[in-house]
Amino acid sequence: IEPVVLVHGGAGDIPSERVEGKLVGVKLAAKVGYAKLRETGSVLDAVEEAVRSMELDPYFNAGYGSVLTTQGNVEMEASIMNGTTLRAGCCTLVKDIMHPISLARRVMKTPHNFLGGEGVMRFAAEEGFEIMDPPGQLVTDYAKEALEEWKEGQRRGEVEFARTEIGSSNKYSKSEVG
């Protein structure tokens, strides 16, 4: 089998002005992941490194650049799975941590699959992850603009997830669907 590292950078109505940045980012992530695979021989290392690369890049909805809740906060989630052992590590409601994917990988070392909320933040602190202080450092101007655009649509009475528009963000060009 020839080794492969395959990545995606999100699906949706990506605005044209974001296309080039997304392509640069996914190409870099594939290269970074592939280099890691060659370096360590570990597919887990490869996928973690590829995702970390995109979590640092504000062109992607993960880590720095994550979209915002109605309250203007970043709440992130991640998962990682080893196809050899079927072990998985998952985390949700993660705040102020740059690399949720690395936190998910650390969850694999516990007896559990999935940690969330207050518990996962306590776990992160115990595991030595940097919890950024002051909070809110992962919020980008673009994410703020996207939320304002979304709120304006709500104020105008538009129903974002009308049946014909589920998964589409074309009324809110800056927003992402996940």
Binding site: I1, E2, P3, V4, V5, L6, V7, H8, G9, G10, A11, G12, I14, L23, V26, K27, A29, A30, K31, G41, S42, V43, A46, V47, E48, A50, V51, N61, A62, G65, S66, V67, L68, T69, E75, M76, E77, A78, S79, I80, M81, G83, L86, A88, C90, L93, I101, A104, R105, G116, A146, L147, W150, I166, G167, S168, S175, E176, V177, G178
Partner: protein, 141 residues
């Protein structure tokens, strides 16, 4: 959302997915990304999948698991299974999404019912990438 799937020369597969969610989500909302079988799945006996798109739709369809079960039980290749599953999900539930897949033979599947999905992969010296439907560009690395 971002994701990665990798396979080594021995057929070991791993998958990772990470996201900020959806703009304007309620605090406390959980999507597909952290759910095994929805946003992520890996099994060396079949393949690995990472998904992206409308989370509420993906989780109801268990998209990652559905793609792998098509490979396992219907004998579809990675590309066919990824296409068929994404299309069937959108036909049934309206919401759009995309997925990337590597099967146990190292074959790649990339498909999305959304307007765009950024993707890239390296196999040997070839870097392939795209973002529009049916766009496949290539570079040597």
């Amino acid at each position: 959302t971002v994701g990665a799937v990798a396979i080594d020369s021995s057929g070991n597969i791993a998958v990772a997915t990470s996201t900020g969610g959806i703009t304007g989500k309620l605090p406390g909302r959980i999507g597909d990304t952290p759910l095994v079988g929805a946003g992520t799945y890996a099994d060396n006996l079949v393949g690995g999948v990472s998904t992206t798109g409308h989370g509420e739709t993906i989780m109801k369809y268990s998209l990652a698991h559905d793609i792998l079960k098509r490979i396992e039980f219907l004998g579809e290749d990675a590309q066919t299974a990824t296409e068929n599953s994404c299309k069937a999900m959108t036909d049934r539930l309206v919401g759009t999404a995309g997925a990337i897949t590597i099967d146990r033979k190292g074959q790649v599947g990339i498909s999305f019912t959304s307007k765009r999905m950024a993707w890239a992969y390296i196999k040997g010296t070839q870097l392939k990438y795209g973002i529009e439907q049916n766009q496949h560009q290539e570079e040597t690395v």
